[in-house]
């Protein structure tokens, strides 16, 4: 394998999307690093940014330039060394501008798939639709004489199936970034038996050069990240439905969201996380995964109902949260959607009552923000769960059961052969989902 030559001609499909734009940025930075190496002088690098939306590509180029500039400002010490030979570049500003121009010159935005016909490496980040992916792969593969490698960012579609349906002879693997790719440290690498060792080695090196934490996952729909998240989300939804006997559903959603955030010491509650990813996306991923499940059903009628009513969540182009199951003001949830009434109901009307029902947070509970910073976060989390076990409040009881379920999901991912170890499951949850403590642990079942 010649690493830099493989990077000579890359195409990113779906480049203007949230995942695609991050992948394009990371690729551009890595290619730029290669391009600057003296031994790669004379090599010509091209990075095609392909997307169906011409308008979105314009925004993409603005976004990429801003991001590259930020990187340049952080790397100026190295960039000055890199451009030491350029006597015309004297001030930091000169060096930064030159590098930004050099990186931007790599990128060719366009709406035509034909641009990928001479690529050596294809990054795919189009929507989570197996048929669409298959068609794109097949078309490129048939017209591309370079036997390109296909790296798909799918978070749920099995790679083996894509390999077969697009007839790629093993030249495909899962390279699953987390959202947003430029910030999130985790990459799940999903290899299939048909892969060449060369390609797997290259993928690993590329992920490492992108400064990612790599977790290998086996080729089972949903892989580790969504394998945990989808089941965890279903559990939360079903818990809320179960509480319907005791309170209206919107209050139950509020309670479970609080339990899964404050009591579980997670960065956000489960319903906020569903909104963050998008109600439609979560529902879709479940749909993709479900046919591959032999002993369980991954489906929620509540998500169907929400979707039908147009409750979708997701983010605006500037990264702020759209209203979904919850309604947001300045990024914080303030109301919850009532399926019965078809409107949002402010927390202020019932939160006090619901909080009282849940009971006070035990003294040992720490906010996620503080817990995640602590070097003793696992021990501190264990202490909180000790309190939950002793406490008789509804909140503590729900939290303990929730954490036990999360642990069980993790164990199942290992016994099903999706993850190679408990540690890999924990790494995904700690890195990809920013959990402060490992879900597969001993302290929630002591």
């Amino acid at each position: 394998m010649n690493y830099s030559e493989k990077l000579n001609r890359i195409s990113v499909l779906g480049a203007a999307g949230k995942m695609g734009s991050g992948i394009l940025l990371l690729s551009a930075l890595e290619v730029a690093d290669q391009m600057m190496k003296p031994e790669n002088k004379g090599q010509n690098f091209v990075l095609n940014a392909i997307d169906v939306s011409s308008a979105a590509l314009s925004d993409l180029m603005v976004y990429i330039k801003e991001q590259v500039l930020k990187v340049a400002e952080k790397r100026t010490v190295q960039l000055r060394r890199l451009y030491a030979h350029r006597t015309d570049l004297i001030e930091n500003r000169d060096v930064i501008d030159a590098w930004v121009a050099d990186v931007m010159s790599l990128i060719r935005p366009g709406t035509r798939i034909e641009a990928a016909y001479d690529s050596t490496l294809i990054f795919e980040a189009v929507s989570e639709n197996a048929e669409l992916k298959t068609n794109l792969f097949r078309q490129i593969n048939q017209n591309n004489p370079n036997q390109p490698w296909f790296f798909t960012n799918t978070s749920s579609v099995p790679i083996g199936g894509l390999n077969e349906s697009a007839r790629l002879d093993g030249r495909i693997l899962g390279f699953h970034f987390y959202n947003p790719p430029a910030v999130q440290k985790l990459v799940e690498l999903i290899a299939i038996p048909e892969n060449s060792a060369d390609m797997n080695e290259f993928a690993l090196l590329l992920a490492k050069n992108m400064r990612k934490v790599v977790v290998p996952s086996n080729d089972i729909a949903g892989f580790i990240g969504n394998g945990h998240f989808m089941r965890d989300a279903l559990y939360g939804i079903n818990e809320a439905l179960r509480l319907k006997n005791e309170m209206p559903l919107h209050e139950a959603i509020y309670c479970i969201n609080r339990v899964s955030q404050d009591f579980l010491m997670r960065p956000m509650g489960i319903f906020q996380l569903i909104d963050y990813v998008g109600v439609d996306v979560v529902r879709f991923i479940m749909k993709v995964m479900d046919p591959y499940m032999t002993d369980e059903t991954l489906h929620s009628t509540m998500l169907d109902d929400l979707f039908t009513k147009g409750v979708k969540g997701g983010q605006f182009a500037n990264g702020s949260q759209k209203d979904g199951i919850l309604k947001y003001e300045k990024g914080r949830p303030v109301a919850v959607y009532s399926l019965e009434k078809g409107e949002y109901i402010d927390f202020s009307g019932f939160a006090e009552k619901a909080d009282e029902w849940l009971g006070e947070l035990p003294a040992a509970t720490i906010s996620w923000k503080n817990l995640v910073k602590s070097p003793e976060r696992e021990q501190l989390a264990a202490k909180a769960f000790e309190d939950y076990r002793k406490s008789e409040t509804k909140g503590a009881t729900l939290a303990l059961a929730y954490a036990q379920r999360s642990r069980q999901i993790g164990l199942k991912l290992v016994s099903d052969g999706v993850a190679r170890s408990n540690k890999d499951v924990n790494t995904v949850m700690l890195t990809g989902f920013f959990h402060a403590w490992s879900p597969v642990n001993e302290f929630v079942v002591k």
């Binding site: 010490v77 006597t87 004297i90």
Partner: protein
């Protein structure tokens, strides 16, 4: 230079040194511009000296407003500070980070020449208009531009990192880095006593541990970390330079004034490299000039404001002033002599590292601090001024030991 006529300074005023560290600082929000700082500082002095009608002339010290703020011609802002200053002579002077010191010297010379009895002297700089990486380009103008290319991204930190590296050879790395960390600790602890200081809100517990953070040459410099550096600051300081007659005109008693009893001012060739990286030879020259003209030795000083743009500059300054032999400045600091309860308290409100370094204002800020200490106006940061040592010294340096202004002050009698 020994003044041939009595020269006093009165009515000092400092704005807050604004920048990272201050709670109210938010780099993403719009902030007051250079006009605001000029006005606040100028009015702060005018208020204490009976108004603009007493002023004969104005001097503004500033380094790089032409690039930081796209604004030159600062002398002509005086009429904005107070309409009473309109049509009075005013100039701005520049000598890199010694611009404030040059403003003082310029004001002193006006009074000595007899052209003025009262000179309003303001130093100002507003640097947070650009990110630090671009600010480094602007500040690099204090060096010879022909050498910018070979310099580091953070140009002056790079220059003083080289000095630190040379000093390590002489005094030992371990001890030197410990002394740097102690210097940092003293600076922050002093700043915590001064409400206008940039590090006033600093609540880090183990400052020496923080100061000992290993330098990262990949992202900054080889021998210095960010705690070894002065702050990027917005701020202004102001003081009035007056004759005996000026004092009377402003109805200010000598108890409220400090006397200027010795002046040193030297500029060395900007295109030349330092003869010895472990010596601040221009500082040594100017300080000697100032002390000699005042007829005192370093042992007569009660306090010093020295130009610690970097911890290493602080320690080399201690040696250049003559407080410790060459190579022993680190020991002098580690033995506690420069702390506020030490033999010779240095930078009692935090200096450039703790109080802040609005470059063009720094020389004036130093004078204001000495004025506060010698007249008992230093509030929580007040130190004891022994009767047998009624002197204070300021050392203001421009560039890498190229322009230096040193002034000896005395409690006025």
């Amino acid at each position: 230079m020994k003044p041939h006529r009595k020269i006093y300074m009165i009515a000092g005023y400092n704005t807050v040194s604004m920048g990272t560290g201050r709670k109210e600082f938010n780099p993403k929000k719009e902030r007051p511009g250079i006009e605001h700082y000029l006005k606040e500082a100028g009015q702060g002095t005018l208020m204490q000296m009976g108004g603009a009608s007493h002023v004969d002339e104005g001097v503004v010290g500033n380094f790089m407003s032409a690039r930081f703020n796209k604004q030159a011609h600062l002398g002509a802002f005086l009429g904005m500070i107070d309409p009473g200053l309109r049509l009075k002579p005013a100039i701005s002077v520049e000598g890199a980070c010694a611009s404030g010191g040059l403003a003082l010297v310029t004001g002193i010379k006006s009074v000595l020449s007899g052209s003025a009895e009262v000179v309003l002297t303001i130093g100002v700089e507003v640097q947070n208009t650009v990110k630090a990486i671009y600010g480094a380009d602007i500040l690099a103008g204090a060096g010879w531009f022909q050498r910018r290319k070979e310099g580091q991204a953070y140009f002056f930190p790079g220059q003083f990192s080289d000095r630190a590296g040379a000093y390590f050879e002489k005094a030992g790395r371990d001890k030197s880095r410990k002394a740097f960390a102690r210097w940092y600790k003293n600076a922050i602890e002093n700043a915590r006593l001064c409400p206008t200081a940039q590090e006033f809100d600093n609540n880090v517990e183990d400052l020496e541990k923080q100061g000992l953070t290993e330098p990262n040459p990949g992202s900054f410099t080889e021998h210095l970390n960010v705690f070894d550096c002065s702050k990027v600051s917005d701020g202004a300081s102001s003081i009035a330079i007056v004759s005996e007659e000026g004092l009377k005109r402003c109805s200010i008693s000598k108890v409220e004034a400090v006397e200027v009893v010795g002046i040193g001012h030297a500029a060395d060739d900007l295109t030349a490299l330092p003869d010895d990286l472990t010596r601040l030879s221009t500082v040594a020259f100017a300080v000697k000039q100032a002390l000699d003209s005042a007829g005192i030795s370093p042992n007569d000083l009660a306090t010093i404001e020295t130009h610690d743009c970097f911890t290493i500059a602080g320690i080399l300054g201690v040696e250049a002033i003559g407080l410790a032999p060459e190579g022993k400045g680190a020991d002098f600091v580690l033995e506690g002599h420069t702390a506020r309860d030490g033999k010779i308290p240095i930078n009692t409100t935090g200096g450039l590292i703790g109080w802040g370094h609005p470059t063009g204002a720094t020389g004036v800020h130093q004078a204001v601090t000495i004025w506060e200490q010698l007249t008992g106006k230093a509030g929580a940061s007040q130190i004891n001024i022994p009767n047998d040592r009624p002197y204070g010294l300021t050392v203001n340096m421009g560039g890498d030991d190229r322009t230096v202004v040193a002034i000896v002050f005395k409690k006025a009698e």
